[in-house]
């Protein structure tokens, strides 16, 4: 079989370009560059109702994303929803009396956890629990209350 250097070079180039494309997909298209695996800590919060919150929903402070929701489970004794969040370890100065609320981005947007820092000196550490929470707003409940009230005022 004839050995051709040009052919080998083209094959090498092809494989290099293909692997470069795989890297491009991993780094530029997906969230690998913003991935946090090791350097993070988890906190949890108990909500009466976690609404449409999902795993991987963002956790923000003042509009800046500092972590993600990693688990949503049901506490069988109080029937509350326990939301576990993974926070990047560079944001480790959250006070202990931080409050957690579930908000919706826009009218139809996805739901996220918003943390509102308090004023205590003690900080939230790994596996801390946030005590003060505000549940998700369920649109149907608000519409129901509104309709009920407007019917009452008419009478």
């Amino acid at each position: 079989m004839q050995h051709s250097i040009k052919q080998d070079t083209l094959v090498g180039l092809f494989i290099a370009v293909g692997i470069a494309a795989l890297f491009f997909m991993a780094m530029q298209i997906s969230n690998l560059s913003t991935f946090t695996k090791e350097d993070s800590y988890t906190i949890s919060a108990a909500f009466e109702n976690s609404g449409g919150l999902k795993i991987k929903s963002p956790v923000v402070v003042g509009g800046v994303r500092i972590g993600r929701v990693i688990a949503i489970t049901l506490d069988q004794t109080k029937f509350q929803s326990i939301v576990t969040m993974k926070i990047e370890s560079q944001y480790n100065k959250l006070p202990e009396d931080t409050t957690a609320s579930i908000f919706t981005a826009g009218l139809l947007g996805e739901q996220y956890v918003s943390l509102d820092p308090g004023g205590l000196e003690d900080l939230l550490i790994n596996n801390s629990v946030i005590d003060i929470t505000q549940s998700a707003i369920v649109l149907e409940e608000i519409i129901g209350q509104f309709l009920f009230k407007s019917a009452e005022t008419k009478e």
Binding site: M1, H3, Q7, D8, L10, V11, L13, F14, I15, V17, G18, I19, A21, L22, F24, M25, A26, Q28, I29, S30, N31, L32, S33, T34, F35, K56
Partner: protein, 260 residues
Amino acid sequence: MIDLLTQLGKKTRYSFAKLGRSSFFLQQLLMGITDVLVRPQLLSKQLYSVGVLSFFLITISGLFVGMVLGLQGYYILSNFGADEALGVMVATSLVRELGPVVAALLFAGRAGSALTAEIGLMKATEQLSGMEMMAIDPIKRIVTPRFLAGFISLPLLTALFSSVGVLGGHLIGVSLLGVDEGSYWSQMQASLDVYDDILNGVIKSIVFGFVISWIALFEGYDAIPTSEGVSCATTRTVVNSAFAILGLDFILTALMFGDI
């Protein structure tokens, strides 16, 4: 009536026999991998004809598919004032579905049919029997390098297709229609996951590469050694590959994304 039943039975038996032959063929083919690794020269030649020669077809198709997605996506999303989500739409549809499937269909048409025709003609002109006479195993020498070349090439070509497609969407969406460049990339990066989206797309392309190479080589090896037989085998390669790709795509999608 009896005739019809006999025919049906014959057809069924024939197709089962073919499935059995193809499984045996796959086993023999995989046994030859170690011999190919000893002689990488064989693989290099096939990577050239299977991979490098498909390069332009795949990249140019990827560019146009990305551009069409950019254009269509922009018109639909701008109705809802959500044209910043264009990057998400283009990248998700390319990485999850269009990239693996369209690249595999193009690959089956471009490289799969060529493989079948080549092996079929080798059989028709008795080159394979000639090799056997010289105590060279034609499956190890001819078939396995081609199989590995297809198996390696398709995932790389799919990655190229998707990447070029995302750049094509960027070209239309950002450069021509004026979607914000920052939100094109950042929303894409925020909503695509390395494991859920990218890795699953790559797994799909690996499965497709395996199946297309297998079908193409088996049809060639199993072809009736006449010019008509080879042409039938080539057609069967393209048809069966298309069925296999689309059917497997459904199964893989259901497995990968079904539980979300």
